[in-house]
Assembly symmetry: D2
Homo-oligomer: 308 residues x 4
């Protein structure tokens, strides 16, 4: 109770065009810590994450996301959620333990938007450089590259986001935090869903083409760290899509940029804490500009059209 | 699931020596919004809180805390938790709806440390000045006085904190986030408990005298807001106990100060997000200084001895 | 000696299309304090400025700048600089005391870029709300609107900026802090000049059309105040040209926006301190993007083409 | 003109008890860059300083300051100021070029407070890691240790501070920015003097014992960097005297700490910009607490009694 069931986003497997180049980028620019390598996959965690990895890069012929996984409380919860998904009419697949390094069995399923989602309960806790006894508040790795605190959420593009919302809410225990309406004032353009007190653990934008990734988001500690991230992007010739700025949705401060395969990532800070008893915030179509980019009050052209 | 059961600290009823003076203090210095008044009680919420109140001041002959209440998901959860408490051997009392303004029935019980704890599921949502449709990220009230985002947690002093921890963990679904050991290396001096992803929703320090309040904590948005709070305290001749500084425990940045009745309050920022699958952080006795005040590396004399 | 001669930018007279509307804008959005009004002119100072005004709005049929004035040490210095200007071949005009409210005689002259520049030594010190005895570090006015600390500098567009630089350096005691070269690697596109330890007290961009204003700049205290300024701009539907971002030149963080007459203004923070013994920083043409907007690494279309 | 004569504090020679240990401390904790070594002296600069050094450590049997030097515009100014000092009745000594590494002739003299002050015009510009062409806003060295921007000022303890003030104002072109009065309401306890737009380039506290050092101050870029500095001090077991907090005088945010020889140093941020036409700020004796430590509103015992 209190905090149970689906806990948090646990990993994203991302397709990259040149694995070695991407390892360099996510290590030295994004500032993640490489924790593993097998075949065409490299594993990374943020300095303040304890589990073995939160980002997996896979060398591939195209950019985009392979799957996005959530950690659940324990094995019993994993089994229960699998049964609930099946009862809901969702076909699931068990990926064997060890398929991802240091990770237990995963329950994988496709959602209506065309994305592969996973649940898992076991991943080796490798800990942080600060340790669990008398830890300092941060460590040297917190200043190597952009150095986010954690992989925080993903924004995915695909169709049928009503069905996606229903599945996440009815079966997985998420709740709707914010949504942007289309011109008809009824249909959602985008939805932000939480399984915790975060303003978003996953979000979806309605899009004809299924299974697409808009961005993977990494959490920073302050608006000053957002500035530092933007500086480091420029020092490293990273292509910034937008920012530093603030989102209307979630209030978070943000930068969108592209990795060297064209995958968009976000380095963001803030966003309020919320709870399932709080009614969702609604953004109307005429305010879609400030909803997404609060300062400019308009979408940049790339926001809706560029994804991987 | 995901986020259910006990959601969050919902209210603190605080005893103050001079109600009118305290209303002025909590309105104009702390920067809360008064939302109600009946008899010897005044009700307050923070600008970003949606429920009717989170702080209740009661005029009394002494300072201290009357009770601390947690909001739970719904009526069914309230009934279930009441039954669980009773089954655990805890006597509960139902306080009728309306006893606190705009609040439903509350289930009250005393814990081993001598504090009155409450659960409730209903409180009128009066909303924020920003509204729920196309809201700006903040509003004028966010700059009236210290203007915290929310009443966040409390630190309570009393005996038998092992029993307290067991009750919160076994019955109410909390988990231990951090603890400080005494010299014997076994017994806890202090424990920090969470029912969410917050590093603490409630905390206890072992103390012979039962039922005491160390501080009520109000959340700020940034370290710069902590500086602003300290400035406002000085402008208003508020007695600062400690800070601005950082805690080792939770990593939060903080100021401790006293209201005009001698009740300590904290204006703090930060602290990491955590989850129940993450093992607790342990502070050993020789590091109790940095555990509490990370920069000075020693307790100030008032920390252990002054409470209400 | 040490700090003498030309001290600092002291006032900008700005043409606005609708004086009443602009008074409202500069009071309630920009957050300046109105200190006077006579005829078609309104006078403003920032909360932390002591002299009577730093911005004068004049109702006019077009936007743009009337003149930009620098305060000098004393009357003797004013006379000396006037003589030096005349000896340098610059025609000067004495504007009588009182022509600008609470301001002594001004020495006005036109520079090669077509701008009217003034020197003056006397302006009534009206002080700050904090006072000069036991002052608090800030006051309520510091949170009314964007509330800059001071009018800081101006960026002007016009031809013959070499002649302008020579005049400012040889006669007025300024020094070159940074410059951006054109494609030929020899001619300057833009120059930043200081008469103090500020990275810029005035700056010029080469432009065929003379006498134009690119922006008036107002200083903020921190990057967090820059965010707050951007939020307030959006809350007030102010058109943001660019930012929040960082300049390569001066390292300052910045937002460019337009007032309701189309005059660009900057709310910025930072920039390093410098000294006349430090050699100028040079930006080459291929790096003009990061020189101006360090994060995006490219000029936005409006930067060179939109001015008043 | 404008900025001429005495430019800025250029170097402090500090006595340390164990030179090797102190080199380690100022390199790895304070985060200065060692630029030279000869005999019992080691030379350091901050990452954003261009001249060869600003701090010289000398191994000695006791802690304290040997001398504090100001850079002046050029050789002619040095000669002129030397003549002015002599005319004022001050005996000066010429220290030969090369006595300090990469430094020209220095004019040394003793002031009434018993301190050795120097003027010099030549020091090799070794530049910054960012360079002078297309420089990034910061570099890796900006995150090695506390990594201040510059050595900024010193606060010295000694008698006859009226005479000191007269000399700095009448001969060296400084001006009084703030002062704290003693109980008699006439005599100064402390004075802050500027030769620039900084709120202090040097400061003095009245003290019976002559020639003493209260602290050397290093400038940080933001309040968040002040927090980072405090964190690093704790991580390195540095003894913090006071802070993070704010000064009433200058408004700067600050930490005072001790190096491993017992010399106090300050890592601070902010403080307003000022000008010689602005009247000094006066603090009265009853407000000496907030004048020095604005938040606590009282001096800590060490402030007046501990110096080297």
């Amino acid at each position: 109770m209190a905090m149970s069931g689906v806990l948090r986003p646990g990993h994203m497997q991302l397709k990259v065009l040149d694995l070695e180049e991407s390892i360099d980028f996510y290590t030295n620019v994004v500032g993640l810590i490489q924790t593993g390598r097998e075949g065409d996959r490299a594993y990374f965690k943020a300095w303040d994450e304890r589990d073995h990895h939160s980002l997996v890069l896979r060398g591939a012929g195209e950019a985009g996301m392979d799957f996005f996984g959530f950690k659940v409380t324990d094995d019993a919860t994993l089994a229960k959620l699998e049964a609930d998904l099946n009862a809901y009419g969702v076909t699931t697949e068990r990926i064997p333990a060890g398929d991802l390094l240091e990770t237990g069995e995963r329950v994988r399923f496709e959602i209506a938007s065309g994305h592969q989602i996973e649940l898992y309960s076991q991943k080796t806790a490798v800990g942080t450089p600060m340790g669990d006894t008398n830890p300092p508040p941060w460590c040297a790795a917190a200043e190597q590259g952009i150095a986010p605190i954690r992989m925080d959420h993903a924004l995915l593009y695909g169709p049928d986001i009503e069905k996606v919302q229903a599945l996440f809410v009815d079966v997985l225990g998420f709740y709707l935090v914010e949504h942007i309406l289309l011109e008809d004032g009824e249909t959602d353009l985008a939805i932000w869903l939480s399984c915790s007190t975060k303003a978003h653990d996953i979000a979806f934008v309605r899009n004809e083409e299924p299974g697409k990734l808009h961005h993977t988001a990494f959490l920073l500690e302050s608006w000053e760290k957002v500035l530092r991230a933007a500086d480091l992007m420029s020092m490293n010739q990273v292509s910034i899509d937008m920012g530093p700025t603030r989102h209307g949705v979630t209030r978070g401060t943000t930068i969108y940029a592209f990795d060297n395969s064209g995958n968009r990532f976000e380095t963001f800070c803030g966003g309020y804490a919320t709870y399932p008893d709080i009614p969702p915030i609604t953004w109307t179509w005429d305010e879609v500009g400030p909803a997404v980019f609060y300062h400019d009050r308009q979408l940049n052209p790339a926001f809706l059209d560029v994804y991987t």
